[in-house]
C-alpha cells in the first residue's frame, strides 16, 4: 500500500518529504551519502537573476539545538543554474522545486519568467523571507500589501508551474501574509523560513557572524514552526508545506497533524545525510502501526 504517495498542486510526489532550500545545494551534493531517487522532492538553493557572492565569512555558527546562517543567498545565477546544474538532475527521479528570489519585483519577474519554461523544473518556490540581504528579501515580507504586489506580479508571468510562496516567521502575525499569498494566486505556501537571531564571541567581543545577524534553524525553531503551520492551515485552503526543525519521522508527523500537506527538511540533512529517506520510512511504519491507509487522512487532525 502506498501510504505516502501524494499529489501537491497537481504534481505527483512519491512521498511528502522534500529537502529544504539552501540545505541541499543544487541537488547532487548528497548523492554519495543517500539515495536521491527515494526522496519526494528537492528544493534547490535560492536562485537569482545574477550570480550572487553572498556574505563575508564567518557565515554559520552553532547555537543550542540550532544554528545561525548568514550565507547571503550565494548562488550561481539563473543562467548558469540552467546550463551547469540542472542537466545533472535529469539522472535522478525526484521532483525538483526551484527556490528563487530577487532584489526588486522586476528581478523576481525576470527569474520567474525564465524558470517557467524550463522542463526539468516541477515547481517554483518564491523566497520572500530571507533575512540576510539588507536591500532584498525582508522588505517583501514587511507587510501583506508588499507581499501581495510581488506574488501577483510573479503569478502573472508563471504560466506553466505551480507557485509556492515561502513565508517568513519574522512577522507579528503570519495569517494575513498567508491570506495575501492565496488571494494573489499562490498554489501553496511553505512555512517557515529561518528566524532572525544573533550570537556573540566573548573572546573577540564581537558578533560571531560577519553579517552580525543570521537565520536560526534546526530543532530550536520547531515549536514556533508548528504553531505557525497550524495558524496558516486554519487561514488558507491551499496546501501548507511545513518546515522548521524537522529531524525525525515523529517531527514530520507532528507537522502533518498540525496541517501540513508535505514537509521540508533542512538543517537535519547536515547531521544525517540520509534523514529524508529515514523520515519517509519512519512515517510509513507509523501509519501502518496506526492502521491509516494514507497520510492525508491525518492532515490537521491534531488541530481540528
Amino acid at each position: 500500500m502506498d501510504r505516502l504517495k501524494t499529489s501537491l498542486c497537481g504534481i505527483e510526489f512519491k512521498n511528502p518529504i522534500i529537502a529544504a532550500s539552501g540545505t541541499f545545494g543544487y541537488g547532487l551534493e548528497f548523492k554519495r551519502f543517500t539515495d536521491l531517487n527515494k526522496i519526494g522532492g528537492i528544493s534547490v538553493k535560492g536562485i537569482s537573476l545574477h550570480e550572487t557572492e553572498g556574505n563575508p565569512m564567518p557565515r554559520i555558527t552553532e547555537t543550542y539545538s540550532g544554528m545561525l546562517n548568514a550565507i547571503g543567498l550565494q548562488n550561481v545565477g539563473v543562467e548558469k543554474f540552467i546550463k551547469e546544474k540542472l542537466p545533472a538532475l535529469k539522472s535522478i527521479d525526484t521532483r525538483i522545486i526551484v527556490n528563487f528570489w530577487g532584489k526588486t519585483i522586476d528581478e523576481y519577474i525576470e527569474v520567474a519568467k525564465i524558470l517557467d519554461y524550463v522542463e526539468r523544473v516541477d515547481m517554483l518556490e518564491m523566497n520572500i523571507s530571507c533575512p540576510n540581504i539588507k536591500e532584498g528579501g525582508i522588505s517583501f515580507s514587511s507587510s501583506p500589501e508588499a507581499l501581495s504586489q510581488v506574488v501577483s506580479a510573479c503569478r502573472k508571468v508563471i504560466k506553466n508551474k505551480p507557485l509556492i510562496v515561502k513565508l517568513s516567521p519574522n512577522v507579528q502575525d503570519i495569517k494575513p501574509f498567508a491570506k495575501a499569498c492565496e488571494d494573489n494566486g499562490a498554489d501553496a505556501v511553505s512555512a517557515i523560513n529561518t528566524l532572525i537571531g544573533m550570537a556573540v564571541d566573548v573572546e573577540r567581543m564581537k558578533p560571531v557572524l560577519a553579517n552580525i545577524t543570521g537565520g536560526l534553524s534546526g530543532p530550536a525553531i520547531k515549536p514556533i514552526a508548528l504553531r505557525m503551520v497550524k495558524e496558516v492551515y486554519e487561514t488558507v485552503k491551499i496546501p501548507v508545506i511545513g518546515v522548521g526543525g524537522i529531524g525525525s519521522w515523529k517531527d514530520a508527523a507532528e507537522f502533518i497533524l498540525s496541517g501540513a500537506s508535505a514537509v521540508q527538511i533542512g538543517t537535519a540533512n547536515f547531521i544525517n545525510a540520509n534523514i529524508c529517506n529515514e523520515t519517509s520510512d519512519g512515517l510509513n511504519e507509523y501509519l501502518e502501526r496506526k492502521n491509516i491507509n494514507h497520510f492525508s487522512e491525518i492532515i490537521g487532525k491534531a488541530v481540528k
Binding site: 548528497f30 551519502f33 538553493k45 553572498g54 557565515r59 554559520i60 550565494q74 538543517t267 537535519a268
Partner: protein, 262 residues
C-alpha cells in the same frame, strides 16, 4: 554511517585520540582528507551540540580502524574526549581533497599545534612512497608537543619548536625552516592561519610551492550549505571556494589571508 569507538587514549587534559572503527573511512589511501563526526553518542537528533565537527583522518591503524587526534576546545570536543569503547557516532567521510605527493621530490611537512593530525597520515604516505620524511612541528610549550616518541618512529628528520623554548628549538617553526627552505621542492603545512601565512610568505620569497590545509567553520561537510567559504585569488579575481569539498587543501600563495585572519 556510524563509527564505533575502539579506544580513547587521553594524552593530557587538553589532548587525546580516538581509535574508531569505520571501514569506509579506514580504506582511504590518500593523506590530508578529513571526516565529520556528530559529538554525541547514538543517533539521537535532538541534542544540544547539533552540527557535525570536522576532524582530520590522523592515522590508519587497520583495514577497519583509524585514529582521530583531538584537542578539547569547546563543547563537542569535550564530549568526544569522554567517549567510551563501544560508543557509536554518526560520521560522514572521507571528505575533501588530499596532499599530492610526487615521487623523488624532497619535501617538508609543517605542523602547528593540532595541525599535526593530518601530518601523521602524510608521514606514513611519504615513507610508503620512499620519500624522506621531514617534519617541522611547533607548539606553544612542551605540553603542546604530542607523541614525541611516536613521531620519531615515523619521521626521518624531526624539528620540534616551542614558543617558550621548553622543548626543542626556541621560537616558531620558521626558525629552523628558514635555514633549510632551499633544500625542498615543496612544502605541506597545517596549523593556525597566522603560522600558515608566515610559512607561505617564506615559501614565496624562495619560490617554493606550498600547499596549506585550512580550518574553517563547517555546516554540512558535503558542499551544500556554503558556510565554509575560502577566498582564493585566481587570475586577479577573488574566487569563492568551499573548504569542505574544494579544500581543505589550497595553494598557499593563492589564499586571500586577509579574509581568513580575523
Amino acid at each position: 554511517m556510524k563509527a564505533t569507538v575502539v579506544k580513547n587514549t587521553r594524552i593530557s587534559d587538553k589532548f587525546g585520540y580516538l581509535e574508531l572503527k569505520c571501514p569506509e573511512i579506514a580504506k582511504e589511501k590518500n593523506a590530508g582528507r578529513f571526516f565529520m563526526i556528530s559529538p554525541h553518542s547514538d543517533s539521537v537528533y535532538i541534542t544540544d551540540t547539533l552540527l557535525k565537527r570536522p576532524f582530520a583522518i590522523c592515522d590508519i591503524t587497520s583495514e577497519e580502524t583509524f585514529t582521530c587526534l583531538y584537542m578539547i576546545t569547546g563543547r563537542g570536543t569535550k564530549i568526544l574526549s569522554e567517549a567510551l569503547p563501544g560508543n557509536n557516532f554518526l560520521v560522514t567521510g572521507p571528505i575533501g581533497n588530499f596532499f599530492r605527493f610526487e615521487k623523488d621530490t624532497s619535501v617538508a611537512l609543517i605542523a602547528g599545534g593540532i595541525g599535526l593530525a593530518p601530518m601523521i597520515n602524510s608521514a606514513r604516505k611519504l615513507r610508503e612512497m620512499g620519500i624522506k620524511v621531514t617534519l617541522y612541528y611547533g607548539g606553544r610549550s612542551k605540553s603542546d608537543i604530542l607523541m614525541y616518541d611516536f613521531l620519531q618512529t615515523i619521521c626521518d628528520e624531526l624539528f620540534i619548536t616551542t614558543d617558550d623554548g621548553s622543548l626543542g628549538i626556541h621560537g616558531n617553526v620558521l626558525v629552523p625552516l628558514k635555514e633549510n627552505i632551499q633544500n625542498y621542492k615543496k612544502i605541506y603545512a597545517c596549523g593556525p592561519n597566522r603560522m600558515l601565512q608566515a610559512v607561505t610568505d617564506l615559501c614565496s620569497q624562495n619560490n617554493i610551492p606550498i600547499d596549506v590545509s585550512l580550518d574553517e567553520q563547517m555546516g554540512c561537510g558535503v558542499g551544500a550549505c556554503l558556510g565554509c567559504i575560502i577566498t582564493i585569488n585566481e587570475n586577479n579575481e577573488k574566487v569563492k571556494k568551499r573548504c569542505c569539498v574544494e579544500g581543505p587543501i589550497f595553494d598557499g600563495t593563492k589564499v586571500d589571508w586577509d579574509s581568513l585572519i580575523r
